[in-house]
Symmetry: D2
Subunit: 487 residues, 4 copies
C-alpha cells in the first residue's frame, strides 16, 4: 500500500520483523512441546538454544540476502537462526517440520492482531453513531426512497439504521473470526510425518490454537475467505453510509456536510467548493476492498496437498485489505464525528415536499373515511401531482441572448407560498393532470366527496394530525428502545 | 435469463434451433470445400446429402433425447442428421472433424449476430442523444463536480459528454469485433489431423472467416474476453448516465425526470412518488454485466490443448450478457427519449448558487485586476462562504413538541432575496467567516481594495460579463462543432 | 438459468406461483396480527376475506398482464387479489403496508427453502466422502505438493481433507443462515408509518421471523451477502476437489477416473477418450458462482432509505446461484459416488518416486545419525537428483525422419529396474549432479560417512522402517478418530 | 506493491518525483501555448518563470508537508512552485486551469511510459518462444485435451499456440493504446472556462496529445478501463501457459521443468522436491491482476461532471497492476528461457498411450476401408479400452500389513510390453469390455471383418503410416509458415 493510505498499526503487524518474530515463536513452541513429551530434547538443550537466540536477535538484512540466494524465505530464516546455535543442537530446530508448519500460526496471528485494530476503530465509530442518534432524536427530515422524498423521519432514526447495518457487517466478521482458532503443525502433507498429533496439540496450545485436523501442507483457505469478505463488507456498509452523506451534501441546500478544515482547499479552480472528497474516497476504497477480497477468496483453489498460488496474493492483499478497512473506519469516524448538520435545510425540504411526506397516511385515512383502495390512492396521487405542477411555463432558450435574459430577470419570482396536499385534498381542490389518467368527471366527484367528508370537524382534526411529527414518528421510540436499549 | 429481461432477438440467436442450424452450416461448408479440392466426395454425393438433409429438417426433440443418453450434444446432432442420409454417404458427414470444428464457427456467428442487435439499438440511442444536445443547446444549468454546483454549462453540453463517453465504449467494442473474423477447423488438437489447411481456408471463407493459425482444439478465448468486457463497458457508461439522471431527478426540485407512464404506480404505500426505477435498474444491470464479463474473461484459462471449463459459462453468460446489454440500451432509449426536463428548476438552481457558478472566472478576473494568486482565491472563497452562511440559527428540537411547532410555523420564512458573490465582491461587503482563516484585518483590506477597483466602470462591466451565459458558455461552440460536426 | 443446468426444486421455489403464494401469506399474517390486537378488522371480516381468496386462486396470467400495464408487480398482485374481495373489505388488504413489507418475508423464505435443498444434497455428499475415507483407509498413494510427489499417504486421508474442507464451507453457510431469522413490516421508510411494532412482531412470528429493527423500506442487504458468498464458497471447495480429481485422472496412468456411462461418447474425433468433463464443468460453475455472489454482494449499496438497484439482480442471480450450487453438489455426488480408483497405478507412482516419498524422514534420520542440518538435507537432495537423472541422453529430433525413427524403435527400453534413494543413500552411492552445487569431495565424504553409519544393522533397520506405510501413515489414525469420531 | 514484487522501472514512473515533474510539464506547456497565441503572457515573462523554476527544483518534502496541511496535492504543488516565481508573474502559473487539467496529461503519460516497459519485456518473451518453436519443431509429444492424451504433435507446435495466444492479448492491449492519444485542458467542467480550445489544442500538441472533446473536469475513464483489462489479459494468457507448464512438470515423469537454481531449496521438509513455484506464482499474480483491473474498470462510474472516487484506486491499482504484469513477463522469460525439456519422457508418454494418439485417424481409415460411421468409432473405442484394461487385479489393502506387503514386493512387475491399438485392430484381437455396450457377437464380427481387411498389404501399409509423426504432423508446416512466416 502506498504511504498515503497506510495504517501504522497494520504496517507493524505485517512487517518482516514481526513475521520473523512470529516464525520463531512457532519454532520455540514446538520445541517446548517436544520437551513436554520428553521427545529427544532436554531442558538444558532447550534453554541453551533459547538463550543463544535471545542473545542474537534476528538480522533482517542477512535474512533478506540469503532469501535472494536460495529463493526460499523460510529456509533462509532457519539458516539465519541456526548460525547462533551450538552445532550439536541445530537438529532440534525446525525438527520434523515443513515451512508452512512454521508459517501458518504466524500468518493467522497477523490476521487476528489486525482484526483487533479493526475492532478498536469500529467500536469508536459505533460510539459516535450512537451519540448522533441521541442528539438528532427529534431532528425531523424527509426520508428518501429512490432519491425521492418519502415519509418524514428523524435524522436520529437514520443514524440508528447506520448503526444496525454496521452491526450486521461487524457481527458477520466476528462470526468468521472463529475460523482463526485453528492452526496446524502436521507436516508436509498433513499426516504428521514429523510432528506427532500430541506434540501438535500441545505446541498449538502454547500459541493459542487448536489443531485443524485434515489440513494438508497448509491450512484450508476456506477458513480465511470469509474474513476477507467480512472486512470488505464492513467497507461496503461504510460506503453505503458515505453515499447517503454525499447525497445529503449536494448543494444548493445541503442537509449535512463533511467537516471542512479551515485551511482546506476545495478546488484549485473554483474557490467556493466544499467538496465531499472524504466520502467519495470511500467509494474508491470500496472498489479496492472488493478486489482484494475477491483475490483472497480465490486462494481456496489449489492442487492436491497444496501448491503455492496463494502466497503472493496473501503477502500483498491481506495487508492492503486491512489498510483500506482501517482507512475507511478512520475517515468515517472523522466525517461523522464532525458532520455539520443543517436542520433548517431539513425543515425547508419537508416544507417543499408540500405535505407529501404524509401521503401514505393520507391514503389510509381516506380509506378509513370511506374511499375505496384504488380511489384513495389516486386521489392522493393526483393531489401530489397538482402541487408539483408548476404554474410557470417551461421554456427552452434558443440563443445566448435568450439565456442571458433569463439570468438577468428578477429570479425571486421563484419564491411563492407553497401549496400542500393537506389543503388540496381537505378543501377538495384537485385538478385534472396531464400526467394521470383521471378524467374531469372523476376529479369532480372526488372533490365533492372530499369536501363533504371534511365538513366534519373530527375528520379534519384526524386529517391535520397525520401531518405532525408527533404522529408520524410516534413509533420511532421502539427503534430507540430496541436498538440502543434505552427508553 | 428470466423472461422479464429477455430480448427476443437475442433469444432467437441463442436458441437451440439456431445453434443446430449453424452447426449444420459448418458441416456443409466443409463438405463443400472438400468438393472444391476434389477431396474424395463427388458432386452427386454432395447434392444427395444436401437434398436429404433439406428434406428432413432437424428434429430438436430427437436431438435432446439423444444428448441426454450419450452426454454429448454434438455427437447427438451428428446422429440426428445422418439418420436421413444414405448409409454409404454418412462417412462424408463430419469427416475428419472434431466437435469444436463444427461448433466454433457457429458460436462466433451467434456473437456477431448479437452484436448487430446491440449496434442497432446503440445507433438509435446515439441519435436520441444528438437530438437532445441540439434541443438543449442554450438550456443553462449548473455543472456539478463532487455533487456540488460548479460552473454554468448548457444541458446540451452535458448531453455531448454522454454522447462522447458512449462513443468511446462503443468504439472499444467495435475494435474488439475484429477478433471475430477468425475461426478454425483444424481438428482435435489444432494440427490438421483431419482437415487440411487448404480445406480449412476454403470452408471458413464460405462461412465468412479466416483461419486462426495456432488454435488448439478450440479457439483461444483471448479473442472473446474483450468483446464481453466491451459489452459490459457499454453497460457501465449507460449506468453512469443513468446515475446522473437519478441525481438530477432527486426531489424536491428535479431538473429532469424519467418519463412516467399515465397508469404507472409509483409506490404501493406513497401515492406521490415518481420513482427513478428505470435508471436505478441500470445499476443492477451493470452489476450483472460486470459479473458475466468477469466469468467470460476467466474462460481464457484452460489446460494444454483445451479442457471444457468454458462451455457451461458460455452457454449461460453470453446470452445473459447480451440480454442485459440490450435491456439497458432499450431502457435508456425510452428514458432519454422521454426525459422530462425542467429548465425553470435548472434556472432556480443557478440562482440559488448565488453567483458561485462563475467563481473561477471571478478569481481569474481578480488576478487580472491586480490581486495575487492566493488573495484572489481567498476573496472569492470567503464571499462564497458568506453568501451561504445562513442568517437563521440552526436549532435541534429536543422533543416532539418542539418538532410539531417547527412544522406549523410559517415556513415561507425560508424565501428571501438571495445575495450573490457578484455583489458581495464588487461592493466590498465580505465578512469574516468562522470556517475560514482570514482575519478581520485581511477582510477589511480586501473590501477596501475591491471597492476601489470596482469604482472603475470598465472593471465593473468586465465583472458583470463573467456572470452571463453568453460569456461562460462561449467555448461550447467548439464542442458542438467538433463532436456533432456542425456549426 | 438455462434448462440444462436447472434444478427442479429450486425452480419451484423461485417460480412466480410460489412467490405470489408467499406474498399472500405475508398479507394474511399481517391481517391476522391486526385481528389479534383488535386493530380495526373483525373475525368475521377476516374469515370472509380468507374464504374469498381461497375460493379464487391467484390467476398468474391476469397478474402478469396487469404488471405490464402498471409497471409494478406488487400492486398488480394486490389488484388481482382484491378483485375477489367484498368491496367494503378491500381496505383491510395490504393496509398500511409498503410493497417490500409484503415481499421481504417472501424473499427470505425462498432463500431459506433453497438452502434446505442445498443441505439435503450436501449431507448426501458428505456421506459418500465418509464412506470413501473408510474404504480407502489403507490404499496408499503419493501425496502431492506443487504437483510433485511428496510423502506417502492413504487415499482415505485425502478424502478426509475433502470432508473437512467441505465442512468448513458448509459451517460458514450455516453461520450466515442466522441472518435469515429476521424480517420487517415497518413500512415505507421503516419507522412504522402503517403497521405498529407490536403488529409487526406478531405477524412476523406467524411467518417465522423476528423484527429487524432499523430496517429502512427494505431489509439491509448486509444480511444476505454472506449467504451468497457462503454458497459460492461451497462451490469453490467442490471445485478444488474436482481439480484434484482431474489431476489424478490425467492419462497415461490415472489413479482415479470419473465414472463413464456405457453409451457415453468421449470425443467426436478421438474414440479412445475418457474425458473428465464433469469435473471440468465444476470449474465453469465456479466461475459463475463467483460472479453471481459478487453481483449479490454489491446489492448492499443503495441510497438513503432504499433505491431499487438490487431488484433485478436478485430476481436473476439468487435462483441462478442456487441452480449452480445444486448442480455442483449433484455432479460431485455422482462423480465421487462412482469414482473408479486404480490402486495399482497409485502403487506404481509410489514405486516410480524411487523412495523420495520418505525423503523428509530420511533427512530426519540422518540428522539423528549424526549429520548436521544442512548436510542431511543436501545428501537426500543429491540422492533424489541422482535417481531421477536419466542414463539415456535427451535428443531432439531434427526432422520427420528422426522423429519417425524414434517411434519405431523398441520402446520397451524405457522399462528397467528403478533405483531408490533408499539404496543410494544406505549404500553410499551418490554421484555429483550438474544441477547441484555439491563438489566431488563433498559427495565422496558423504558416501564414506554413510557407508560407515549403515554398517550398523540397527541403523539399517531404522532406515528400512521409514519407507513402510505402517510407519509413514502411523499418525493418520488420529485424523480418522478426530474427523470421523471412530477408532 | 511490496518490494518483493516491485519493478524498478515502473516504480520510477509512478514516483512522486516523476509525477510532479510531469505536472510541471503540463503547466509549462499551457503557458507556452498561451505565448503562442499572445494570450497575456510575454516572452520575457515566460522565460523568467521558466528560469526561476529550473533554478529551483521541486522540493518533494516541502510539497508533502503542504499537502498534509491543505488536503489537496495539486494546490500544494502550485504553492511549492510559485514560491520561486516573481510575485507579479505568479498569476500566469496554472492560469485558468483546474487541478485535473494539470494532472490528466501527466497521468496518461505515466500509463504510456509503463506500457513501453511492458512492450520491451513482451517482445523479449516473444523472441524466446519463437526460438523454442524452432528448436522443438520435431520434438514429438502427445497433445492433451481434458488432460487426456489426444493426438500427437510437436512441442514446437504447442509453442506456436503460446505465441499466438500472447499475440492476441498483446494486440488487444495495443488497440486500446489508441485511447491514450487524448487528453484535456478544458477546465473545471470541461467547457473551457479558463483555457480556450485553441490553447488546449496547442498545449496538448506540445505534450503529445489531441483534445478529448466532451471531457468533463476529467477524462472519461472509459478510455483507460480497456488498458487495464488488456494488461490483465496478458497476465491471463501467461498464466495459461504457466498452467500448461505446471501440468507437464508433474512428477513422476515430467516432460519439462522450470529451471532450478543450483542453490535453490525445494522444500524445507522434503529435499527431493523441484517445485514449480515460479509458474504457480503466475496464478497468484493473475488473481491480483484480475482484481486490480476490476477495480480500475469500476472507475468509469462517477457523478455528473466528476466526483473523486477514482483517485485512490488509480494511485494504488495502476502501479500495482503494472508491477504484477511486468513480474509475470519477467518470470515467464526466465522460465521459458531456461525450460528443461525431456524428449525421452515425451516419447515414453507417446508409447504408453498405446497407439491412441492416432485414434481419430484410425477411425477415419476404417471408415475409408468400408466400416460405417458408428462402427468405426466403436471399434477404435473398444480397442482403446482393451489396451488400457489392466491384466492385474485392483486390490485395496485392508490393513497396514497389507500395505507394507505391497510396497516390498517386486514392483518391476509393472513393466511389461505394452500393447497398442495399432496391433489390436489390425490383427482383429478386440475383446468385450465391461465399460462399453458392444456385445460378444458384435466384437466377433468386427474382428473377423478387420482381419479380412488387413490381409491386404496396401491396407496394412496405409494403416501403419497413420501412426508415424511424418504423417500425423504433416500439416504443422502450415502453422510454421503462417505464424513465423518461414518455410
Amino acid at each position: 500500500m502506498i504511504d498515503r493510505y497506510k495504517d501504522l498499526d497494520i504496517n507493524k503487524i505485517w512487517s518482516d520483523k514481526n513475521k520473523l518474530f512470529l516464525w520463531l515463536r512457532t519454532e520455540m513452541a514446538v520445541m517446548h512441546a517436544r520437551l513436554h513429551f520428553k521427545d529427544e530434547i532436554s531442558w538444558e538443550d532447550y534453554e541453551r538454544i533459547k538463550r543463544s537466540l535471545e542473545e542474537n536477535p534476528i538480522d533482517i538484512e542477512w535474512w533478506k540476502a540469503k532469501d535472494k540466494e536460495i529463493h526460499h524465505d523460510l529456509n533462509a530464516f532457519i539458516q539465519e537462526r541456526i548460525r547462533f546455535m551450538p552445532k550439536e543442537l541445530r537438529k532440534y530446530f525446525h525438527q520434523g517440520m515443513t515451512s508452512y508448519d512454521t508459517e501458518e500460526p504466524a500468518f493467522v496471528k497477523m490476521i487476528k492482531d489486525s482484526i483487533k485494530i479493526v475492532e478498536r476503530h469500529y467500536f469508536e465509530l459505533e460510539k459516535i453513531i450512537k451519540e448522533m442518534a441521541m442528539k438528532y432524536r427529534y431532528t425531523i427530515m424527509n426520508g428518501r426512497t429512490h432519491g425521492q422524498e418519502a415519509e418524514m423521519q428523524s435524522f436520529g432514526k437514520r443514524c440508528l439504521t447506520w448503526l444496525q447495518d454496521l452491526r450486521i457487517s461487524f457481527r458477520n466478521l466476528r462470526k468468521s473470526k472463529e475460523n482463526l482458532r485453528f492452526s496446524k503443525l502436521s507436516g508436509a502433507i498433513g499426516n504428521y510425518g514429523g510432528v506427532t498429533p500430541a506434540i501438535e496439540t500441545k505446541a498449538l496450545k502454547f500459541l493459542g490454537f487448536k489443531p485443524q485436523y485434515g489440513a494438508t501442507q497448509i491450512m484450508p483457505r476456506e477458513l480465511y475467505a470469509p474474513i476477507a469478505q467480512g472486512l470488505s463488507q464492513i467497507v461496503a456498509t461504510i460506503n453505503k453510509i458515505a453515499l447517503t452523506i454525499r447525497l445529503g451534501a449536494r448543494s444548493g441546500r445541503p442537509i449535512y456536510q463533511e467537516p471542512f478544515a479551515k485551511k482546506q482547499t476545495g478546488s484549485s479552480a473554483m474557490p467556493h467548493k466544499k467538496n465531499t472528497i472524504s466520502t467519495e474516497q470511500m467509494e474508491g476504497m470500496y472498489r479496492m476492498a472488493k478486489a482484494y477480497a475477491m483475490a483472497i477468496m480465490e486462494n481456496i483453489q489449489t492442487w492436491e496437498e497444496r501448491a503455492i498460488e496463494q502466497s503472493c496474493v496473501e503477502r500483498v492483499c491481506w495487508p492492503d485489505l486491512f489498510h483500506v478497512t482501517i482507512r475507511v473506519l478512520k475517515v468515517m469516524k472523522r466525517v461523522l464525528g464532525g458532520l455539520v448538520v443543517y436542520p433548517n435545510n431539513m425543515l425547508q425540504e419537508i416544507y417543499e415536499s408540500r405535505g407529501c411526506y404524509a401521503s401514505s397516511h393520507a391514503k389510509e385515512i381516506l380509506k378509513q373515511l370511506g374511499f375505496d383502495f384504488n380511489e384513495a390512492y389516486r386521489i392522493v396521487q393526483l393531489a401530489a401531482f397538482n402541487v408539483f405542477e408548476s404554474a410557470r411555463e417551461e421554456r427552452f432558450p434558443k440563443s445566448f441572448d435568450d439565456a442571458d435574459k433569463l439570468i438577468t430577470m428578477d429570479l425571486n419570482v421563484f419564491y411563492k407560498k407553497l401549496v400542500s396536499i393537506k389543503e388540496i385534498i381537505s378543501e377538495g381542490n384537485s385538478k385534472v393532470s396531464l400526467q394521470l389518467s383521471a378524467t374531469k368527471e372523476e376529479v369532480q366527484n372526488w372533490n365533492n366527496k372530499l369536501r363533504e367528508v371534511f365538513q366534519h370537524s373530527e375528520n379534519l382534526e384526524l386529517w391535520s394530525k397525520i401531518f405532525l411529527p408527533s404522529y408520524l414518528l410516534r413509533n420511532e421510540d421502539t427503534l430507540y428502545r430496541r436498538i440502543l436499549r434505552i427508553t
